[in-house]
């Protein structure tokens, strides 16, 4: 198996894309789960505030999602642009 320069760069950028999205998904996954878990708890305590609590949960999760989206962007850059 002989490896040329462009092949080496392309190959490692594919591996890098996998690593970026794979590791990048760990944090938002756990964080958003924690937020939604607390939202369920809060709705359990005060079911009449369900609308407010769900809205807050979604805003919080959206912020927590951002790092996952950064990973996705970097992965897509590695796949298609670089």
């Amino acid at each position: 198996m002989d490896i040329a320069g462009p092949d080496f760069i392309k190959g490692l950028s594919f591996l890098g894309a996998g690593l970026a999205m794979g590791f990048g998904a760990i944090g938002p996954g756990i964080g958003e789960g924690f937020a939604a878990g607390k939202a369920c708890e809060a709705i359990g305590r005060k079911p009449e505030e369900a609308g407010l609590l769900t809205r807050t949960m979604l805003v919080g999760q959206a912020v927590s999602e951002s790092t996952g989206i950064y990973s996705l962007v970097v992965a897509l850059l590695l796949l298609f642009v670089v």
Partner: protein, 404 residues
Amino acid sequence: MLNSIAYITASSYLAAGLTIGLGAIGAALGEGYAAGLANESISYKPKMSGELLKNMLVGQAIAESAAIFALVVAILLLFAQPSSGSPIVAWSAIGAGLAMGLAAIGSGIGAGSPAGKACLAIVHQPSEKSRIMTTMLVGSAVCQTPAIFGMVISFLLMFMDFSSAPLYPAGAALLGAGLATGLAAIGSGLGSGLPAGAACLGIARQPKSGDKTMTTMLVGSAVCQTPAIFGIVISFLLIFMDFSSVPPYPGWAALLGAGLATGLAAIGSGVGNGFTAMEAVSGTARNPECNSETNRVMLIGMSVGQSTAIYGFLVSLLLVFTKMEPSTSLTSCLRLLGAGISSGFGGIGPGIGLGIVAASAVRWVARRPSSTVALIRTMLVGMAVTESTAIYALIVALLLLFVL
């Protein structure tokens, strides 16, 4: 130049070290946890120290079994004669070591939970001693299932004759087979310990509803085993496949990636489902009347929680069964390995996160059955958002597989 016997012997020694090094982690942690809770229990009622010590030792003995499996495999790797002089045996030895070593981690830690919680339970409800001990024994026995899966795969890898298989791609496939079951077993072992511990405490709190608690525990622990079963299925596919049907390059990367995808993704689902099952068992013990609601929400939560393991399993199946063009470029190999790594690691976090959401929902359904509908709705919305990063990882994997 190294001759192949030296290569195989060296790899077997490395594998033996990995097996017992990894395999010792779980049992020691689980037993330490049990001993800690036993001491806490004795401090409440020092007069019961004899009973509690006995219960601790029985619980620890079961947690120890995972490490003993690993010790047996390590000794076999050290002293068993290799089945042939083919270099493929070196890779199957390392796969065998990883399967057993990694699988013992989850079962060891998992079995510590019922052993420790049973001591606390006995001190709070001494009249239910025998029932608590039975629950502990059943619960810790279920925790050992993933370690047994690991041992089965490791025996297959050690004693089957692969000498006629080509080094590429079979070497990587056998390593992947070890990783798939070993990694997947971590989550299931850890996860199935949590409901077992909660059941011991639940029976102490509400001895009258002991049967319902036990049933919920068994259902929960059984569903927690699913990710380990995905892992063992992929291992069997990788061990018994026809290696000549796969081009050596980039086949090796696809088959190693297949092992990593299912193994890693299963860790998250196993642990997450354990959280959900634990809350369902505690909830059933706290409020036996709404047992059926609790169980229903638990099963909804667990089936959504399973999705990340299923994404990993799907990518593994695609990697094993998609026809690929022979190509010796590094790009074509790392493309396939990257797909496996993306969906594998990408499943860990969302799997745990989905479990946390479902666990909270189940806890509050048991406390306030009147708001079950609102809780299920929020749980599903929260889970959908939590799922998103796993879906990104799946998309990246599918792009790597089919577009690039």
